[in-house]
Symmetry: C3
Subunit: 346 residues, 3 copies
Amino acid sequence: MGTSYTLAEVAKWVSGAVRGDASVRVSGVAGVEEAQPCDLTWLTDDRFRAALGASRAGAVLAGERLGAAPMPAILCAKPELAIVTILERFAPPTPRPPVGVHPTACVAPSARLGRDVAVGPWTIIGENAVIGDRSILHAQNFVGADCRIGHDCELWPGVVIRERCVLGDRVIVHPNTTIGSDGFGYIYAEGRHVKIPQIGNVVIEADVEIGANCSIDRAKFGSTCVSAGTKIDNLVQVAHNVKVGPGCILVAQCGIAGSARLGTGVVLGGKVGIKDHAVLGDGVQVSACSCVSKDIAAGARLMGIPAIDRDEWVRQRAGTRRVPQLADQIKALAERIDRLESAADD
Amino acid sequence: MGTSYTLAEVAKWVSGAVRGDASVRVSGVAGVEEAQPCDLTWLTDDRFRAALGASRAGAVLAGERLGAAPMPAILCAKPELAIVTILERFAPPTPRPPVGVHPTACVAPSARLGRDVAVGPWTIIGENAVIGDRSILHAQNFVGADCRIGHDCELWPGVVIRERCVLGDRVIVHPNTTIGSDGFGYIYAEGRHVKIPQIGNVVIEADVEIGANCSIDRAKFGSTCVSAGTKIDNLVQVAHNVKVGPGCILVAQCGIAGSARLGTGVVLGGKVGIKDHAVLGDGVQVSACSCVSKDIAAGARLMGIPAIDRDEWVRQRAGTRRVPQLADQIKALAERIDRLESAADD
Amino acid sequence: MGTSYTLAEVAKWVSGAVRGDASVRVSGVAGVEEAQPCDLTWLTDDRFRAALGASRAGAVLAGERLGAAPMPAILCAKPELAIVTILERFAPPTPRPPVGVHPTACVAPSARLGRDVAVGPWTIIGENAVIGDRSILHAQNFVGADCRIGHDCELWPGVVIRERCVLGDRVIVHPNTTIGSDGFGYIYAEGRHVKIPQIGNVVIEADVEIGANCSIDRAKFGSTCVSAGTKIDNLVQVAHNVKVGPGCILVAQCGIAGSARLGTGVVLGGKVGIKDHAVLGDGVQVSACSCVSKDIAAGARLMGIPAIDRDEWVRQRAGTRRVPQLADQIKALAERIDRLESAADD
């Protein structure tokens, strides 16, 4: 984080306006609480407005309606996007293997590599696999026979992609993730679990990002699909024949059971489970640690195990808390009835 | 999926009978909704009977009592098993490393490899390890010193098996799974967590299959055991000194805490947690996203956090939903008592 | 486990006293139920006192106030710590790569390795990385550019540490764990999820142990931190910008969402989830399978989804079970009121 920039320079990157001293220099970006005088912080969420007053940050990036602030500010229309641009400018370069095939890599003669592909040490590329232009296989990757990897993909170390799987363009896969392992399917017959061959594959569309240590299983037949622009966090399980729609967000440790289908823009919080064959409509949002056990209409907001409408969940939960009180009320009513009955007997 | 077969041919594979045109050709297998005219679909679950009427499949495989269907059918006694046979026939060959040791593999001189073993690139086999006949170590595997791997095993890329662990015959381990890492055990003393040496191992019996990105820890002493024929899905945690009985099914993202014991044929749904030292009897079934916190008698069906009898869970859950209604009823009763009391006062 | 020792010898290791025949020999350590006559067992938890009577163990290690036992005993002040010492003595040696760099490893010329470092096969060490004295990189590790690994660290096979991350002294990382993958952060803009650059790193302090198949993400900026002496089990997710305090215990399959902060000595049971930005005070303990959705004061004991005070959870849960009974009571009261109303009408 050596280089520093004036607020005037930074504002120009994001088409913003400086309020206050435009000659102030910043050399990094930091959260409102951690920021030092050499850092730019930002405010896009009102939760942190109070903290801004106490911040040591040298400057703040915010929306055009920012109120009083104790430091100079860069004001712009879309501060959320501006911060992305600024982070990209401040980011130290990511180390990547150079273009070409590392001498220790093991590339099948029939594999076809596009232009400017970088293949790092001890990566395996199987027979007839195709790697698109400018894709980067960092190291210790396994790309099985007949796989097709798109352009501008990035596979971090330890990623394993089994045979016949397909990745679209600009797909990023983080370390130690497995794509294309056998789906979990058995028939119980003659006293044992007989393995069902899993003869399908996995298709990951363009602009998907997949976290570290995930498992995405190949289909029994046909394809397990993750559609364009979906983002998957770490330690997520996607079972065989699942279809994840475009633009979804699957937070860490989610699990989607076999043949479930998610529509467009579905958001699953961390640790959410989805039952096999469940169908979730477009835009469904499921709170963390919930478990969806049935089909869900588009736009629903869910919570709980099993997941129900979020407002209904809140209502039921409030009910649960009232039970001891209800018991007390019943006791009091019973005493009043006792007295009435005694009076009636007199 | 190039080759096609007539229904007469396919029926012969599974000792089935063709109903309708036996000369119809199929070249693949697909679910009832995805199937095309070139595909065989199947019906083993009444849930999909309605969908069969609308299916474009060229033919259907089903039990002998199949009702009317809009396409030719192959009828047989056990369609579930027949579909396994048919999938095996249609499966494209799985790419595997050739028999022999890849020149880049690192095999200790004292290791003993059986007949027709295949060791792929960058696999490490430690001192005195034994690999059984026909076993396949795909690539980038680590098999520690003194491990014993049975016959006909298959280790996919990135599998790590630490020293002294034992795998029976026909064990399959999917990518990036760890077997034999240290159990999680500490003594809190003198203000810090002191590591308890984990000097045992892991024993995986014959015909076990273990999914991708799992962790099976070695025992503190003695062995962590997974018994014959048990099938484990992805991202499952098996802690130190756990004993999993034979023929169990552990669905993805389960976690079994230290020294827990599962009987024969136990089924854990996805994301189930089992408390340390808990003992689950034979045939126990636990629904997804449940957490078992005590010993469970054989045959029990459990659900919830903490897991209780499934019927009782349903009953309690129905109760929870009734609480607001009970509150209304109490209010109404109070008003009636008010009126009675007022009348009595008159 | 060939070598055997007399109880007199073993007692000397732990400054204990023998009760009974000090010439009895033991060659291993085992739990009270599994122990054979050649084994030493131990009693530190009264739960197992009854089992001791039926144990076949050759001897027992226990506290100084041990009552009657059917076998000779070694009595000492801190049996929990003594068993650690004894396990270390009985432990077979752990196979480790020899000091030096394996010829197949790929160490950048600018990397600096301390004294007596062991680098196993197919390990990658990036530009300017620093490895402390006596650290062991078993095999197939990836240590990115500019990483700093302390003294006496141990990285098991398949561990990936991305660029610029920092590990303190005596850090142990188990197989297939990922440290420093990108945090999961996007801005939704113009109809798609725009990736927020994750330009920070991960800092793991001294004496931390991290299980197998974990994911610890790098910070958006600044550092994701795990403080000294914290122990992390398998399959745990630590998101970007999380701060885990010193001496914490994170049991398997926990997940800590972005920017959450854990104080000193926090204990999270298995499968616990922590909401983003939540702050947990010192000594907080969360029961397994719970989900913490807000800030928690120091010393709290929590349970449930969402997690609440453990005693309050028990009380609410008891309430839930009473609902059907309350409904019956309400019905009975209504009948009594009916009768009173009828009488009043007469």
